[in-house]
């Protein structure tokens, strides 16, 4: 697989310039001062299409105590070209967004369906890593296995509630957009289910599907891909993932800060929310 890669320095330089030039991408967000990471040219998506926000109490208290921020990044592969570049990029993007914070990222694959065995494995991973935040790319395997969207939603809801009940924050990332799946009803129901669960459980969501959909309308020209347009879009999506996740975390964090955050029990599951019955 060949593709043109920007060098690290160029990328960082571009990010710096953009940070200086571009106003905050979040449309519904008060414009933040310097520490909001902006998106590089190729990854720019309007905030409303990129994420929904929610509070990140555990991350906030880790930052408050000047501890290193421990993140467990689950699912998906690294961007093409270099090993583990997604976690490395996410770490860099977050450290840019949160100056003076040491971020450590544990990146794990989680094959299998959330609706069957994988949510058990997730619990094991969380117990092993004991992170402050779980960034979870979820839904792809269940979509591929044609899992019923309701069964998926209730398992995901249960898993997210479990993580949060242990005072750990969660950021969900929904599945990718690709043209051949755009009209697939089951696939869209899985994407919707991730959104519903994120809203119900009050966790931030990176709307990768929407973001890639937006980018796909914009990237008619540009670098070619020997495997065709959908593969080029997929590469772009993987390259932008880290930036999109970092921006979602930073803006959510800004909101956590803006409102008085409960310091002691940061992530007790909301009792007022209609909880789905555990499946």
């Amino acid at each position: 697989m060949t593709r043109v890669r920007r060098s690290g320095t160029r990328w960082a330089l571009a990010a710096l310039i953009l940070a200086a030039l571009e106003p905050a991408a979040a449309a519904e967000q008060p414009v933040d001062t310097g520490d909001q990471p902006s998106l590089s040219q190729e990854c720019r998506v309007p905030g409303a299409q990129l994420y929904t926000m929610a509070k990140l109490g555990a991350v906030r208290s880790a930052l408050g105590e000047n501890r290193p921020l421990k993140i467990l990044a689950i699912g998906g592969s690294a961007a093409p070209g270099a090993s583990a570049s997604y976690p490395a990029k996410l770490e860099a993007a977050l450290e840019r967004a949160l100056p003076k914070t040491d971020v450590t990222i544990d990146h794990r694959g989680l094959p299998g369906e959330i609706a069957s065995g994988a949510s058990e494995r997730l619990r094991t991973m969380v117990a092993e890593a004991e992170p402050d935040l779980v960034v979870w790319q979820v839904g792809t395997h269940d979509a591929i296995a044609r899992v019923d969207a309701d069964a998926f939603a209730s398992s995901l809801s249960e898993a997210v509630a479990w993580i949060r009940s242990h005072g750990i924050d969660v950021v969900l990332v929904d599945p990718i957009y690709t043209a051949s799946m755009a009209a697939d009803v089951d696939y869209n129901r899985i994407v919707d289910a991730v959104r519903t669960v994120a809203a119900q459980q009050e966790v931030p969501l990176v709307r990768r599907y929407e973001a890639l959909h937006y980018l796909s309308s914009r990237t008619e020209k540009g670098e070619g891909h020997m495997l065709g347009r959908q593969f080029r879009l997929n590469d772009l999506g993987l390259r932008c993932m880290a930036e999109h996740v970092a921006l979602t975390i930073a803006t959510s964090l800004a909101r956590t800060e803006a409102e008085p955050a409960p310091k002691i029990a940061p992530a007790a599951p909301p009792l007022t929310e209609p909880q789905r019955a555990p499946g």
């Binding site: 043209a179 799946m181 089951d186 959908q230």
Partner: protein
């Protein structure tokens, strides 16, 4: 060719169960016993592999064959399984990549963590040869390679004392649980899905019990007496599986792995449940065999050729997943996928036996 027997029958049964369970979301999944207990077909498969090592390295009178012969036999089998793992991995990756290209759908590249391979082929191909890079559902054979690779140690110790062999294995198992020893994955973080330091205990258990079973009647007497206990464990397993009650890995005391239900580490709860299943269902074959005729012969034939059938089953289940994905699934597709898969497994077993009909058919581990 060996006549149908209990070991081959249950092995075939485990192979069919694994095949069905490896097409996630399909209609028939809920009719497999794996859904109704803490342990599943993987335990059965590994235990029977251990039992078969016993059969292969001991005569009917319980006298072991020459030590060197056992070691070479196990080494040859290790090479054979390793070769199967490489072949199956390559075919699986090609199927995934081919489907993604054909359907112009990069989503498929993420199947079973294959994305890591396509993202980073340079490291991944080394990891593939080292077996530290594994695809989801393609992780039993690497375990099997390691288990048969280290089996000579337990077999040789077992020639002196079966108790010593069991103690060595049990000690390694407990230490791995307490200190959370596992083999790392590479490239990428994490560990093996099947922790060989833990799972070896089941292989050695099979080997040791086969030895005791040959030597005296005590084991058989006790396993008959313990049938009610086995049934009680099976019922408890069904209740726990159906209600979804299980320990919270963040709430249990340390050492954590002694109390959870994790498949990766074959935790004590899973081991105990498997022993219960064994006690409850082992006598069933004698009752079933005269009544199920062709089914018994079919399953035994699969069990006799377990490596080929397992390998083909992995590939067929992946094809089944792709078919389900592209067609959207449904009962009709599931029947077609499962039906043609079972025919495919049967054909594989028949083909292997046809090809080797003129060679010796000693049982192999």
């Amino acid at each position: 060719m060996r006549d149908p027997n209990a070991i081959d029958f249950w092995r075939g049964f485990a192979l069919v169960t694994i095949f069905i369970n490896h097409i996630p979301g399909n209609t028939f999944e809920r009719y497999t016993f794996s859904q109704y207990g803490i342990s599943d077909a993987a335990e059965l498969f590994v235990f029977l592999a251990g039992w078969s090592i016993g059969i292969a390295t001991r005569g009917r009178d319980g006298k072991p064959e020459p030590a060197v012969k056992s070691v070479v036999r196990l080494l040859a089998r290790t090479v054979e399984v390793y070769r199967a793992q490489l072949t199956v991995m390559l075919l699986a990756l090609a199927l995934i990549a081919g489907a993604a290209l054909l359907l112009d759908n990069p989503l498929i590249l993420e199947w079973h963590n294959a994305g890591g391979f396509f993202a980073d082929p340079i490291q991944s191909v080394c990891g593939m040869a080292l077996m530290t890079y594994q695809l989801g559902f393609f992780n039993i054979l690497p375990l099997y390679v390691v288990l048969i690779g280290i089996a000579p140690i337990f077999v040789l110790v077992g020639r002196v004392s079966l108790i010593a062999s069991a103690a060595l294995s049990g000690g390694l198992y407990l230490a791995s649980l307490v200190f959370e020893w596992n083999v790392p994955s590479w490239p990428g973080e994490g560990d093996w899905f099947f922790d060989p330091f833990c799972w070896q205990v089941l292989l050695v258990l099979g080997f040791v019990l086969q030895g005791w079973n040959l030597r005296s009647d005590t084991l058989r007497r006790w396993s008959r007496r313990l049938i009610p206990a086995g049934l009680a464990i099976v019922v408890l397993g069904i209740v726990l599986a159906v209600t979804g009650i299980r320990p919270d890995p963040l709430m249990v005391p340390e050492p954590r792995l002694l109390f959870t239900f994790e498949k990766t580490y074959l935790t004590p709860a899973r081991l105990l449940h498997f022993l219960g299943v064994l006690l409850a269902f082992a006598p069933l074959y004698a009752l079933l065999a005269p009544r199920i005729g062709a089914v018994g012969r079919y399953l035994s034939q699969l069990g006799r050729n377990s490596l080929a059938v397992f390998s083909m089953g992995s590939i067929l289940s992946l094809i089944g997943q792709l078919v389900r994905f592209q067609t959207g699934g449904g009962v009709l597709v599931d029947m077609l996928v499962a039906g043609s898969g079972l025919v495919g497994l049967g054909f594989t077993a028949w083909f292997v036996e046809w090809r080797t009909r003129n060679k010796s058919s000693r049982p192999r581990p």
